[in-house]
Symmetry: D2
């Protein structure tokens, strides 16, 4: 049960509500986000909502039977819009394209990527500075100093920075240089990291665990929201199955389900999904037709020389064509669902 509270509710009024709800057999958690104030009540007893609905300080009450509450579509009639400033939004009414290299490699590469993005009217750049690697002996990213340069150059160009955070202690040090904190598939259930990202006022993009269920992804989002941050983006990036013909099984089935279950925007990563360059574009187009609100793609000035993931990365020329097709596909999809 989600009880939306009036913004100007007094502590005394709140206590009355909590006491009443507890007496009805529900445990309560208070949640205060950038935008609103909620009581989450978890319990099993059935009762008539009117028994509490009249209490002063309550704006609205909704039963939500899902295992996740605040990220559920059952209570919120409008979809989440994430305003990144300077006219850049991620939401369910326009197509977001996020592009860039797997790893940030050099200042020159940042410049080249920014030029490529601007030429294609893209406002969001991805690029890893802390890289999770299976082997401790592999390249682990250029780190915080690289992020500062990445950020400075993007800011100057009006481009937003999307990059992966790997641990709690990085949240603070990365904070001022990042627009969207990406949580990688291996951290999909790193609950301490999710808690921490719930305490800041920056957008968070949650990648589905490579063997995480759709419900677990939504519960991960609930961690962030219930800690106070409503700016959440869900990202499907492929799951692990028995098939070895490609890197991961990009699970587009998740897209219409996430769109129906939650009010959050849904992004798809075909680069890590199918993981082979030739199939990135068809899977990206398919993602849009399945209902994705955005695509995150790896592009590189010279994929053959990329320090990581070159085999799944498009060059600028290939990417340009794909962007156009993605936009045309999105326009057609939008025409189907009316205004």
């Amino acid at each position: 049960m989600i009880i939306q509270l009036q913004q100007d509710i007094s502590d005394a009024q709140k206590s009355v509500i909590i006491e009443k709800v507890n007496k009805l057999g529900y445990q309560t958690s208070e949640v205060t986000t950038q935008f609103a104030h909620y009581l989450i009540a978890v319990g099993k007893a059935e009762f008539d909502l009117r028994r509490i609905g009249h209490l002063t300080g309550i704006k609205d009450i909704h039963r939500v039977s899902d295992p996740y509450k605040l990220v559920s579509k059952k209570w919120r009639v409008y979809d989440t819009d994430i305003d990144l400033g300077e006219g850049v939004h991620i939401n369910r009414s326009e197509l977001s394209i996020i592009a860039g290299p797997c790893s940030i490699e050099s200042p020159e590469q940042i410049d080249q990527t920014i030029a490529h993005l601007k030429a294609n009217n893209i406002r969001l750049m991805r690029g890893g500075v802390f890289k999770p690697r299976s082997s401790p002996y592999a390249f682990r990213g250029i780190g915080l100093e690289g992020l500062k340069i990445f950020s400075e150059k993007c800011r100057a160009a009006g481009i937003k920075v999307v990059t992966e955070v790997m641990q709690v202690s990085q949240v603070e040090e990365m904070h001022d240089y990042v627009d969207i904190f990406q949580v990688g598939t291996r951290n999909a259930q790193n609950f301490n990291l999710l808690d921490e990202l719930g305490k800041i006022d920056k957008a968070v993009m949650l990648k589905r665990g490579f063997s995480g269920t759709i419900e677990e992804l939504l519960q991960a989002a609930e961690y962030v929201f219930s800690n106070g941050n409503e700016k959440i983006i869900l990202c499907e990036r492929g799951i692990r199955t028995f098939e070895t013909a490609y890197r991961n099984t990009l699970d587009l089935n998740a897209v219409p389900i996430l769109k129906e279950k939650s009010h959050l925007p849904v992004i798809v990563d075909p680069s890590h999904g199918v993981g082979l360059r030739n199939y990135v574009e068809p899977m990206a187009l398919a993602a849009v037709m399945s209902g994705a609100d955005g695509i995150i793609m790896e592009v590189h000035q010279c994929p053959e020389k990329a320090l990581s993931d070159g085999q799944q990365t498009l060059n600028y020329h290939e990417a340009k064509t794909s962007y156009e097709r993605l936009r045309q596909t999105y326009a057609l999809k939008k025409s189907f669902n009316g205004v």
Copy 2:
């Protein structure tokens, strides 16, 4: 290695070729299909193709290193076109829509479905008369007599019959009433059935096993082709994974891969794939954008009353909208890849 033989090759000429190829360390299998005559040579030694290329009776020679040979795109420059007669084709240059109920239930239902298909300009009707069921106590389909009525009504309406065959002995008895024999996911590696279907001159649609790899699907197709039947359609219909939010994980990643590896047309079944009505259309549209040459969908005059699979079946009204959107999506996809 695939050696295409001249149609008018003499037995003596063929013997010379086989002997020579055997001497080079290759085992040979002769394959004669509706359309052509091949020698498949399997072996490991490397040699200069010119050592046999000059022999009389050889039309062309191709090395094919894939575990499947005749269905590989490595040797055939044109894509397979399956001509079902009366202007109905399944191929890579037009969108095929196959629709109909999970199970054929009654003559009235056949009439209603045919009327629905004709109103939507669809020429292929699906409908099961032999149903594979997990439990021996469940409805197993109306059988051969039902097929005869199904077939008669479709013939009268210029519509092609697509239905599942479950065992070798049915191939002959069903033969005259079927246009496309469907091999179900549970029979994906029923090699005797595949052998048998290779000996007839009817189209065969092979569903991927629910835990079959892409390579195994192509090898199943090789069974049919190598027995003499080139009229093969591949069908992705969802795989079994850990996710339980839907029926199967429709694996659209398979589509661009099958299109690249093979010259056969590729159909997608979103009804059994995602398996929930609300998600059938988005997954069908996504399938087309991933490169599918056709869609096979379950429609029913009243899905709530269907004898099987009602939860994944569209009603006629929903289906009509989906057909239109599928065609628009296909047109857009086709515009991307040029003529």
Copy 3:
């Protein structure tokens, strides 16, 4: 619901029972096996069993809520014992070892294997004569003529023949030469084959599908039983997962579950399970400790030269040690569960 009927029930008495049960809202199927006579009633209404329990001709009635009925342990108080003659049984009170090559290759090999088995006091020999192969160009077994020699030599030595049947038409032609018909993993849901094997009086060993659930395995067994054959052996042989370090994920978790859910004996195949020689013995021992009633293993006079599956096959010397350890392990396990 399972209604056990008196063996001497009259048709009139049976009609009375069926009519009454139908009126209570249940559909009935009659099952007559080698040993008994049953009515299976499938329905949802709840009623007091005493409303039918008094009818003449009924021996016993049991509610069975499982999706499988006759193979469930919910109604049968004793475990199934399969008597193969000459003192060879498969049941839950002694360890069955089945050993032999993947494929029968030659008469000499049969002789060598029989000598090896007799030296180790083993009475069951496995060996494929019809081999399911992913590629149509691979060796498909020596066929029926080979089976005849295999059978003749085993009969002479007091050894029982265990071999795979692949299609309906083989059941009759193989019938006289086989003691246990094995249904392979690819045919785990070949319902026509299961139907057919239900009509004969020979033991049937059902391998779990490589992505079949435990419930599906039990439902496959229900097909055989409900067609009239109670002599069923369940076999766990590994499932398909994301792990590639071995051939299949031998799922020993299935063993205690199958033992609890069903009254049928449970055999484990570690050779196809883990699929690598070094790990066959530890997995076989583990299988026994998990509760397996038997082990089916691949042995070969010279695994390096085996026509198929050599990498997972033990030589006679390795096998001898394993048999002894299996027996010691079984004795210990049996001591745990009392008499």
Copy 4:
């Protein structure tokens, strides 16, 4: 390649070696653990080891082609023995039993558990104080204060503390109260946490990710070792597959493989593995027969009232029988492999 260095090597000698190895095309990482000093050299060129073997300061050199190096069995001839003090070891020559509740709930529960363990001659107690939970609204453990009581009581009783650490910042605060830091399945690729645990001198038990490969588990261990901590225990605890009849697919196939690939001790967790009480003992016994060096089990004074995981937890009476059987099984297994 692993170059073991002399303990008393000088910096100058080390520089000579590093320079030489770099010149041969290899990148080097220095690793200093509690016990020894290594150079890990990663590269592709082939060369004669004698070209560096003569250099002063080198104790031994081994080629290790595995993607993990220091945890590989390819270079270390003896198996790892982890000495926890007071006569408690985890290694490959005795059976380790770790038992206790899922979550530490109260001081009384700790006392009861300790009494139970002592009565059964068990020296290792498990118990969670920080609990990873899918939902942010669920019980998250009693935290650090609870750990202090847990630790104090165990110390007094000569029992070692095994508990889960969830994030980097907890390592220091938990350090003095823990004997074995457990890394949970959701943190199996939390590389920052692995790095941190590599910097301390306490044992670390790594649970396999629920969809982690065997190779990824070994690479996680490599993270810990390469940061300086050799005291690593591997733990198989079940993987995620399509089967839903149990909680996880306990993958015993991993046990003999891990034992062959690595020199580290291998523990199995049947409680989280199969996840249903009735099957915990058979799977634990099977684990021992597959080669496990230890078992970690959930026991509770009253599983029906446990705050978490009650359905997979044994009561003291059941557990007592299981411990005895585990020990008998281990003795038999040990007799097989000789001294």
